[in-house]
């Protein structure tokens, strides 16, 4: 589980346990073996930039991280850039889409799943490593495909059954108006008119336009469903649920493990970070505060692993006494051996 690599390796877990540093150390470890590696962070806090000395401006572009002994690609997720890269037709300059694709616009999870899927399809990499947002937001990421499906399914049926089949992407604004009035004159009329009373008329028009754009680019969004299938059917991935002896969040670990139903137990690793009990510490330290508490938590997590049988494998990483995240990562890299 340590030495082998997989086409996709996912790092998830509660916040502050070291997902980003561990994922980076993993990328370096595999890159040193001359594998083609892409490290993607979809955590909106983009902590990866700090570890790799990337600037905020590099968000959305694939950057080469090059040092003497290794080289790999890194990507800080940006919804806008993914949107552009996919070539999604958005020459309509729709305000709603523009705002939603901003860094804090709220489309991160959905765009991330689309980005990951297209990187998997590109076959440019032997291994794609994913650093994910903390806790439940990771589940949001996994659920994004379901949400997309539902959005295009039920809500569109509702609206588009009134519009006929021959929707054309180059609708002149008059055509748009026609469709708009057609929607309004149909059964959705009431619904939209209520919406209009709350939001104003202009919004409803822009909103319908945004839905057109999304619908015309439906196939890009539905890539997310292929990703879901990949997780279900492929043997070529591994996921690490990262925990730490500095936190007693066993309940949250259970919640993630139980809700990550798209991920197979066969490919799962429970990783305990910042372990003290790895043979390098004097035993008389064990009874002292705070070491005692860290070790107690470590044993709690191991106990949970043994009893719950939710995970296939268990991995321990030591606590690194190092303030600088870069040195921290370097030290972790050797532990993948």
């Amino acid at each position: 589980m340590k030495g082998n690599h997989y086409q996709l390796e996912i790092f998830c877990g509660t916040g502050g346990v070291g997902k980003t540093t561990l994922a980076t150390s993993r990328a370096i470890y595999l890159a040193k073996k001359d594998l083609r590696v892409l490290l993607i962070t979809i955590d909106p806090s983009l902590r990866l930039k700090q570890v790799l000395s990337l600037s905020d401006k590099s968000a959305g572009d694939i950057k080469k991280v090059e040092l003497e002994e290794y080289c790999f690609d890194a990507l800080l997720m940006s919804s806008q850039k993914t949107f552009d890269r996919l070539g999604i037709d958005k020459d309509k300059n729709n305000k709603i889409l523009e705002v939603l694709m901003r860094p804090n616009g709220g489309m991160n999870e959905i765009m991330a799943i689309i980005e990951v899927q297209s990187q998997l399809e590109s076959n440019n990499y032997d291994c794609i490593i994913l650093d994910t947002p903390p806790g439940k937001h990771f589940l949001d990421f996994l659920d994004a495909s379901k949400k997309i499906d539902r959005f295009f399914d039920k809500s569109y049926i509702e609206i588009f059954k009134f519009l006929g089949k021959n929707l054309n992407s180059q609708l002149p604004s008059e055509g748009k108006k026609k469709i708009f009035s057609k929607i309004v004159s149909s059964g959705v009329k009431k619904l939209l008119s209520y919406l209009e009373r709350v939001t104003g008329k202009e919004f409803v028009e822009t909103f319908i336009e945004a839905i057109f754009v999304l619908h015309q680019n439906k196939n890009y969004f539905l890539k997310a469903l292929t990703f879901q299938r990949f997780l279900k059917e492929s043997d070529n991935y591994q996921w690490f649920l990262v925990s730490s002896t500095e936190q007693s969040k066993v309940k949250e670990i259970i919640e993630i493990a139980k809700n990550a139903t798209h991920l197979s137990k066969e490919h799962s690793v429970l990783l305990i970070n910042k372990c003290m009990d790895m043979g390098s510490i004097d035993e008389d330290e064990f009874s002292k505060v705070p070491v005692k508490y860290f070790i107690e938590r470590e044993h709690q997590i191991i106990d949970f692993f043994d009893r719950s049988k939710l995970f296939k494998n268990l991995l321990k990483f030591p606590d690194i006494f190092e303030a600088d995240p870069k040195k921290h990562v370097k030290s972790l890299t050797s532990h993948w051996n």
Binding site: L195, R197, F203, S244, V289, V291
Partner: protein
């Protein structure tokens, strides 16, 4: 004068829930009408266990209440929210739900002048989405009652004395950097009463007296990090070595009192 809305944010795993819990309890102990809240519909068990008063609502419930108010008909609102289209809309657009929740808390605070809401906010990136949603949706909606309401939310949040933001971080470089980013974000947005603090500090009597060389090594690193980033005094909340919630809350209470004495 205590702020009306206290937002606790920070990177994941920095103890936001514990701090929000401790603040709510301390305000209650002072006889104030404080409520704990979070966007997470599953209220943390430690909050449920000791019966801390809370104001929990979901985006769907809050939207229904809001639409009901605007259309003057709760029944109609129920019908609108039942449409699969609206359900899907909330699912693909979490910030819309977050904005509506925030709006609901603010309305509650305006309707009940003696209430205080303590928001155990989502972690950094998602907290920024929540705040950005105000200006984002304002741009989207442009006109109409919704924009008037967004403006009202803005006014409430930015009125001096109304909002306090506490950004928690732990003594690691990653967490402090993220805390600084987030503090800047809230201040730039117009919430001047934003304070960064360091939680889970090892700088406690217990650790100093333990005689553990390992603990001292960790404490040295902590001091290095703090002195690198902060020239002036930064508030430290000590790490409490206990598995018991009330003991932890007792342990950090003196610092929480200090935070609240400043409004």
């Amino acid at each position: 004068m205590t702020s009306r809305l206290i937002i606790v944010s920070g990177k994941g795993g920095v103890g936001k829930t514990t701090i929000a819990h401790a603040i709510t309890k301390e305000l209650r102990a002072r006889g104030l009408n404080a409520f704990y809240t979070s966007f997470d519909q599953n209220c943390p068990s430690e909050i449920l266990k000791d019966g801390t008063p809370r104001f929990m609502t979901s985006p769907e419930e809050s939207s229904e209440a809001y639409i009901g108010l605007k259309l003057n008909s709760p029944l109609l609102a129920k019908w609108v929210m039942k449409a699969p289209f609206f359900k899907a809309l909330f699912q693909v657009l979490p910030p819309l739900g977050h904005m509506i929740l925030l709006g609901h808390y603010i309305k509650e605070l305006q309707d009940n002048p003696e209430h205080i809401v303590v928001l155990d906010s989502p972690a950094s990136g998602h907290a920024m989405s929540m705040i950005s949603s105000l200006s984002n949706f304002k741009e989207i909606f442009k006109l109409g009652v919704l924009v008037e309401d967004i403006d009202r939310m803005n006014d409430f949040l930015k009125t001096p004395g109304n909002t306090k933001v506490l950004i928690s971080s732990i003594p690691t470089e990653m967490s402090v950097e993220e805390g600084l980013d987030l503090t800047k974000f809230f201040k730039d947005w117009g919430l001047d009463n934003t304070e960064l603090l360091i939680n889970n500090s090892l700088n406690s009597k217990e650790v100093l007296e333990s005689g553990s060389s390992l603990a001292h090594k960790k404490l040295e690193i902590e001091k290095q990090i703090i002195s690198r980033y902060f020239s002036e005094d930064i508030r430290l909340i000590p790490q409490v070595f206990s598995h018991n919630t009330s003991e932890i809350l007792r342990g950090i209470n003196p610092i929480i009192k200090g935070i609240l004495s400043e409004g």
